[in-house]
Point group: C2
Chain length 218, copies 2
DNA sequence: CATGGTATTAGGGTTTTTCCCTATACATTT
DNA sequence: AAATGTATAGGGAAAAACCCTAATACCATG
């Protein structure tokens, strides 16, 4: 086997960090070699561990991901930086590109998206979450992206609600009783949501839920 | 309906806090009205919110649960204090009783144990986790406790392993493949573990796992 | 050392849950 | 008006989980 991709995770939410680790380590060609819960530690760990790729949350305490990215870019130019964020609507996007981030993935995307992004970035490509491509292109690429079949459909509120309850361990029947709907309806929402995310098992739902930090709210 | 029991959670691990909240709010006669992630905040919130009961982790940063318990006992004598801990073997037990804690529950007990404890303490009774009764009684009560059927059997490593994987969303089949065992064996471990804990659904397993902080390791 | 408890493993048969396909009503967009 | 997407749900097939039982192995205690 080839040498595995060595990955450093910089992310202040422990749960998300663990979720990402779970996902990455499940790939045969990747391994998480370190973690950091703020930008300062991320910079130090980057120097110490010399990972192939850093997965970095842009909103971290003390030194945020943007500043950490700039400093790592200058001190360790060989390390690829893949930024991860919850927000679709923040102003960091242009700045991150300027700061030299190699990729940009939204937390609300399917877990597989992150894996795709890691492979792309490791290959020397730039990676932008499909949901963001439009904005960067000034809206021009809307139709193109759709035609390439790469557009991420986002989940409806009902679908998210159902997935979250499934991740928390409820059966379809329990969810149906809870929301006063037919089990059949729950099944449909679940199936539609999973189709949209391109996932196929309960464990994938749990991973997605952890990335969304759904496991802690309520 | 009677007025609900107003509960304050003092616990530094957010995941556990959220797990307890989930469990407590699922009871029709209880509600979580506040949270604190260290002893200092717990003292302040106790004064501000005047809860009926505080569920307090004894090991918290800054001001630990023991000191917080003492200070709350003196400043707000009407508030019941239920301590929650991971350790069966710490030296705090005697001190906590001296400090005026009304109850003591282990995190590794079944979630239902916590609910029992809350009800007992709210009723003005003292509550001690059955697993701890022996130690307090100087070992004398061993047989008695067993005969009362209140002894908590603790999970074996295999049983814990299986429960944890179930909580993470794996099916029995996947777990069997993972551990190289028959699905039947997984079913047996699951059933035995659930019997020991007195629980009966996947959601209970998830709650238990959250209390154990199993959702973050690995 | 024999006996009883419990841990680990697993099968048979039934019940429950989930999965796949299809369908209707309604809103929005084109 | 037609197409798309959302929310709802049914029928029937497949899969998973559940209940009961049981063999083996180990270990402590009488």
């Amino acid at each position: 086997m080839e040498k595995k991709l060595r990955i450093l995770i910089a992310e202040d939410h422990k749960t998300v960090r663990e979720g990402v680790k779970l996902l990455v380590n499940a790939q045969p060609d990747m391994e998480v070699i370190g973690e950091a819960d703020n930008g300062e530690v991320a910079i130090a760990e980057a120097k110490r561990l010399d990972p192939d790729i850093i997965i970095m949350d842009i909103s971290m305490p003390h030194v945020n991901g943007l500043r950490a990215a700039k400093r790592i870019r200058s001190s360790c130019p060989g390390i690829k930086i893949l930024t991860l964020t919850r927000h679709t609507d923040d102003g960091y996007l242009q700045q991150l590109i300027a700061a030299g981030a190699n990729g940009y993935v939204l937390k609300q995307s399917a877990p597989g998206e992150l894996i795709n992004a890691i492979r792309a970035v490791a290959d020397g490509k730039a990676y932008m979450d499909p949901a963001l491509t439009n904005r960067v292109m000034g809206g021009y690429a809307t139709r193109t992206a759709s035609l390439r079949g790469e557009n991420k459909q986002q989940l409806t509120d009902r679908e998210s609600e159902v997935l979250r309850l499934i991740a928390l361990g409820y059966s379809n029947k329990e969810i149906a009783a809870n929301l006063d709907l037919s089990v059949k309806t729950i099944e449909a929402h679940k199936a539609n949501a999973m189709r949209k995310l391109g996932i196929s098992s309960r464990i994938d739902i749990v991973r997605y839920a952890i990335l969304q930090e759904w496991m802690q709210d309520t």
